[in-house]
């Protein structure tokens, strides 16, 4: 009992990811999706990726999640530090849709990943309940997801992601489908709970990136590559100040270039 308790709350190593000269092409496609990609996702920091629709940012994330292994060819270096950690076993993936299974209760959704390991122990259930309390949904543990609002569902998804207890969190616009206030609260909650993780967040919303990012990349071009932007020195989650407004201007200017 106590061993599994320790296993669940065990400090997981922070993982850094470095990509250099990354090249990604879908099988059957003549042109590459990504080329000359140089990025690094420092351990325990939030990296936000901005870019126009179709620029390949989701492809990059899905590749990192190991979802494109059979559909694409990749070349270039993908390095994790410390190197003995295989990326595929150390990521948790959070998509734009909450992807809660409608037939599982909220609690069972949070413990979903445990189903694929082995049987769910009482300890894991306890841990899941603690996470639900953290996201403020302990009362809804036995509900089916269809009873919840969009923001609540995304909070359950956040708890499920945390339950996986992985060092790297890949997020593909997870807060884009909710209203502005809910989004603001979700950002705060995610920031609070994912503090010591390596987070890669794709977003369409420059303000979201400015609020949360320790570093920002903009992906553009065809095939696309990434460009790093300097972020304000203030601490995340940032209050909007003139420096942020300036950054937003330059982000917009960057994104508009892609039209040419």
């Amino acid at each position: 009992m106590s061993a599994s308790m320790r296993a669940l709350s065990a400090k997981i190593p922070a993982l850094q990811i470095d990509i250099s000269a990354g090249y990604l092409r879908y099988t059957g496609s003549k042109t590459a999706t990504l080329q000359g990609l140089n990025m690094s996702f420092p351990a325990g920091q939030w990296t936000c990726i901005l870019g126009r629709s179709g620029c390949g940012k989701t492809s990059l994330l899905r590749y990192l999640a190991g979802l494109l292994d059979q559909k694409t060819s990749w070349s270039g270096e993908l390095k994790t530090t410390p190197p003995q950690f295989n990326l595929k076993n150390n990521i948790a993936y959070m998509a734009q849709q909450d992807l809660l299974m409608p037939w599982l209760s909220v609690l069972d959704n949070v413990t979903l990943s445990a189903k694929f390991g082995n049987t769910i122990t009482a300890v894991q259930k306890q841990a899941a309940l603690a996470l639900l309390e953290k996201v403020g949904l302990l009362d809804s543990a036995d509900c089916l997801p269809q009873k919840l609002s969009g923001g609540m569902r995304q909070r359950v998804a956040l708890a499920r992601t945390l339950m996986q207890n992985k060092p790297v969190i890949l997020m593909d616009e997870p807060f884009s489908a909710v209203d502005a206030v809910t989004r603001y609260r979700l950002q705060d909650l995610a920031w609070e709970l994912l503090k010591d993780k390596t987070v890669v967040l794709i977003t369409h919303d420059p303000q979201e990136a400015i609020r949360l990012a320790d570093q920002i990349y903009i992906m553009q071009g065809k095939p696309s590559s990434a460009e790093s932007l300097k972020v304000p020195a203030s601490l995340t989650p940032r209050q909007f100040d003139p420096e942020c407004a300036q950054l937003q201007q330059s982000i917009m200017a960057f994104l508009e270039q892609d039209d040419a």
Partner: protein, 265 residues
């Protein structure tokens, strides 16, 4: 807060009751209208009772011969239910095979379609020959007639799992089998449920058609016998019971499906 939950629970109960009473009321009214029309036709056109007996005659017959009718109803009911189970099991099995093994699908699909191109009624005499006059041939008839809708629904349901669910499970390290058991199968249940609803309605057709071709008991048998003896009121009584049986079966199955698949939209 507790007040609110108490309130919603109470109102929930009320709407539940209403939801039960309204369809019942509707059904009563439509039955009354049908019976009224029926009686009107008999009286208005002066129908002889060997062509169209009045509803009252049929009900008298129903009460008089309830023991015989009950005996045959039980037989037909048994055939329908066992046929449903057999057909569902076969449909599920075939759908799984097609899902898991691509080559099998290429071989099975033409057979599946061919099995539907041959009318089940044309197969009935052959089934009698092979499986005898007893209950087995009728069970197989009922199973065959529901086999196609169940298989296609189940296969479609298993195949069309939202790709996001599969991606998520894959990033969680699910094996192919775990994916099937924990994601694809539950995700397919609402689609499978519509297949089952269709199956429940058409399974009685298979069972009764089987009884017509050759049997010594069952409602279909009773109807043929009654027809031959010009006991038209008894034939109608059997027909009435058969339709009631089908309706009852449908509502019971529908309620069960809603209970076990509460997320179904």
């Amino acid at each position: 807060m507790p007040d609110i939950t108490a309130f919603t629970r109470l109102s929930g109960q009320k709407t539940h009751q209403k939801a039960l009473i309204k369809p019942l009321l509707r059904m009563m009214i439509s039955i009354m209208v049908i019976l009224g029309l029926w009686q009107a036709i008999v009286v208005f056109f002066g129908m002889p009772s060997f062509i169209l007996p009045a509803p009252i005659e049929v009900f008298e017959r129903l009460l008089l011969r309830y023991d015989i009718l009950l005996k045959h109803t039980l037989v037909t009911g048994q055939e329908i239910i066992l046929g449903l189970f057999l057909g569902l099991f076969m449909g599920l099995f075939f759908a799984l095979q097609m899902l898991l093994f691509k080559p099998i699908k290429q071989w099975l699909l033409p057979i599946l379609i061919a099995s539907q191109a041959i009318p089940v009624f044309a197969l009935a005499p052959v089934l009698m020959l092979w499986l005898g006059y007893g209950i087995a041939s009728k069970i197989v008839m009922a199973a065959l007639i529901i086999f196609f809708p169940v298989t296609t629904c189940c296969y479609d349901g298993l195949r069309n799992t939202p790709s996001g669910y599969l991606d998520l499970a894959q990033t969680m390290g699910a094996t192919k089998w775990q994916m099937l058991r924990h994601i694809q199968f539950p995700a397919s249940l609402p689609t499978l449920a519509s297949g089952i609803r269709v199956a429940v309605v058409i399974a009685p057709i298979g069972a009764v058609a089987g009884e017509w071709v050759g049997s010594s008991e069952g409602l279909g048998y009773l109807m043929l016998q009654a027809n031959a003896r010009m006991m038209i009121d008894e034939m109608f009584a059997a027909l009435f019971i058969l339709s009631m049986l089908s309706i009852l079966l449908y509502f019971v199955v529908d309620k069960l499906l809603k209970k076990f698949i509460p997320w179904e939209v």
